[in-house]
């Protein structure tokens, strides 16, 4: 049985105009997938393709217009109280924009302890100990617990958000473009951190991204999305087999690792 699954999910948003009729916009159509325990699945697609909508539906943050999300085989609305609490702890999310995902008035310690207060029986002392452990896990110094978001760099704050997601010992972490706002060298070190955590905990990840390079570095399997639909699937070792036009566009958009060799000729000409 899969940990989390989507069955024929669709989502339509209604925008209300001040004047004139409301407009309906379909963000997701007929999306089905399943994530196994310990698996890393990537959702790949361009801005506006519906991948974040799908991630939000899977985490239970929003309800689908049609279709259902299944946690351990049971549809989310059918979960009883204890099962729902279990699901909330088991599925955690990390967002792209860490400054807007953290309360600027809270200390880092309180930000990370928030899910512990709601989802675990830990008391104050227990929470403090767990926060220290989590900071260490994401390679931040323990003193940082007393600092506020504005005193941290973007890369550090994103690690705080990862620590918060890890707090209730989830079985699945949904990373919604969680590294794409960071400098490339910080993206590389955040990915190294996530890989280490996966090795240590055996957690599953749903990795939402527009960058095919990151998929190869991090995921087992990739689903490509385009215009609200899942259009193709491949194992991450076989990305070259992706054939859908949307996949091909994403592949050809990757920038070259090295500058073109014309530079050498240029310089030769300048010298000569």
């Amino acid at each position: 049985m899969s940990l989390l699954a989507a069955r024929a999910l669709s989502k339509t948003y209604h925008s209300r105009a001040l004047l004139g009729p409301a407009r309906a916009r379909s963000a997701l159509s007929d999306a089905s997938l399943s994530i196994a325990e310990g698996e890393t699945l990537a959702l790949l697609g361009r801005s506006g393709c519906g991948k974040s909508t799908l991630a939000r539906l899977l985490s239970g943050l929003e309800a689908p217009s049609t279709g259902e999300v299944l946690f351990e085989g049971t549809a989310l609305p059918d979960l009883d109280r204890t099962a729902r609490a279990r699901m909330r702890a088991a599925v955690q999310m990390v967002f792209q924009d860490s400054p807007s995902a953290t309360n600027p008035r809270f200390t880092v310690g309180r930000i990370i302890a928030e899910p512990l207060r709601h989802l675990t029986p830990l008391d104050r002392t227990g929470r403090r100990a767990r926060v220290a452990e989590l900071l260490e896990q994401v390679e931040l110094p323990p003193e940082m617990a007393a600092m506020r978001p504005s005193q941290l760099s973007g890369g550090q704050l994103q690690r705080v958000c990862i620590a918060r997601a890890l707090a209730p010992r989830p079985r699945l972490v949904i990373l919604d473009e969680a590294v794409s706002n960071l400098d490339i060298h910080l993206q590389a070190s955040a990915l190294a951190l996530l890989r280490r955590l996966r090795r240590e905990t055996g957690m599953a990840f749903l990795f939402v991204t527009h960058d095919l390079r990151l998929v190869r570095r991090f995921a087992d399997r990739v689903l490509v999305m385009d215009e609200g639909r899942i259009v193709e699937e491949a194992a991450s070792g076989r990305l070259e087999t992706l054939m859908h036009p949307a996949s091909v566009r994403l592949r050809t958009a990757i920038l070259p690792p090295f500058p073109p060799p014309r530079e050498v000729e240029d310089r030769a000409r300048n010298v000569g």
Partner: protein, 259 residues
């Protein structure tokens, strides 16, 4: 005779207030027509401060404490450069456009600032030159009605309309998805080559550098630590900061398995 070029010479920027701190230290760069110079570095290394200092638009709390700008060998006031000598393409087009003004208003403002009249033909040609297929249809639109990629195209078109010989592109594709990024970079490369622009490209992404730059300067904590032709920097970086940037960039292309 001095060679043509736009030189930032020994620019230093200091924080104001009781304990002044240098955020830009003796930065010198020369832009040459027809060449792309990339200024790279981590967030907070001072890249955008360098651009603001050169154009005389430093944020409150910062002041220029030394250095000067020379255009073709003669001293030039930063204020006189803006719009006429140097056009800018900024990160995050969403905040660069006035939300209450249509695209037509923005074009008109650019032309008026340069003392030119509306020239429908030129506006049409410039907008179609940046890949906008139906320019007349986007002119009445407001920023919220357009995608980030479309707005960035219009920003490039505005830069080209100014006919300024130099272009400062500050993280021009950072907030765009990779497919849009690739198109915008093609466009910038094409415009730069066609108009023979001298371009300063500010970025943290070495992939963007590989795509566009001829020469690279690496900035670390307000200081240039290495400057080299792009091929040399990628194949034989000398400074540890350059090596770190190149290694992180190349690690994304590394075919090592995910686990």
């Amino acid at each position: 005779m001095t060679a043509p070029g736009l030189a930032l010479q020994a620019l230093s920027v200091t924080t104001t207030g009781p304990a002044p701190r240098r955020v830009l230290d003796d930065l010198s760069l020369t832009l040459v027509p027809g060449r792309v110079l990339a200024l790279v570095g981590a967030s907070g290394s001072g890249k955008s401060t360098a651009v603001s200092a050169a154009l005389g638009v430093l944020s409150p709390g910062l002041r220029l404490s030394g250095g000067e700008i020379r255009l073709d060998g003669r001293p030039a006031a930063p204020k006189a450069l803006r719009g006429r000598i140097v056009a800018s393409v900024l990160q995050n087009p969403r905040s660069a456009f006035n939300p209450l003004r249509s695209m037509r208003d923005h074009v008109q403002e650019t032309l008026r600032a340069l003392g030119r009249d509306w020239d429908a033909r030129r506006v049409h040609d410039t907008l179609s030159g940046v890949g906008i297929e139906t320019p007349e249809q986007i002119l009445p639109l407001y920023p919220f009605e357009m995608s980030g990629g479309m707005l960035q195209r219009v920003m490039i078109a505005l830069a080209l309309l100014s006919e300024a010989p130099y272009l400062f592109a500050d993280e021009p594709t950072t907030d765009l998805d990779l497919v849009v990024q690739a198109r915008i970079l093609d466009l910038l490369a094409d415009a730069q080559a066609r108009h023979g622009l001298g371009m300063l490209l500010i970025t943290h992404d070495m992939g963007v550098v590989a795509r566009l730059a001829d020469e690279v300067a690496v900035l670390d904590r307000g200081r240039i630590v290495e400057q080299a032709p792009v091929g040399d920097l990628f194949h034989a970086p000398r400074h540890p900061v350059s090596r770190m940037l190149i290694d992180a960039h190349l690690s994304l292309y590394d075919p090592e398995p995910a686990r």
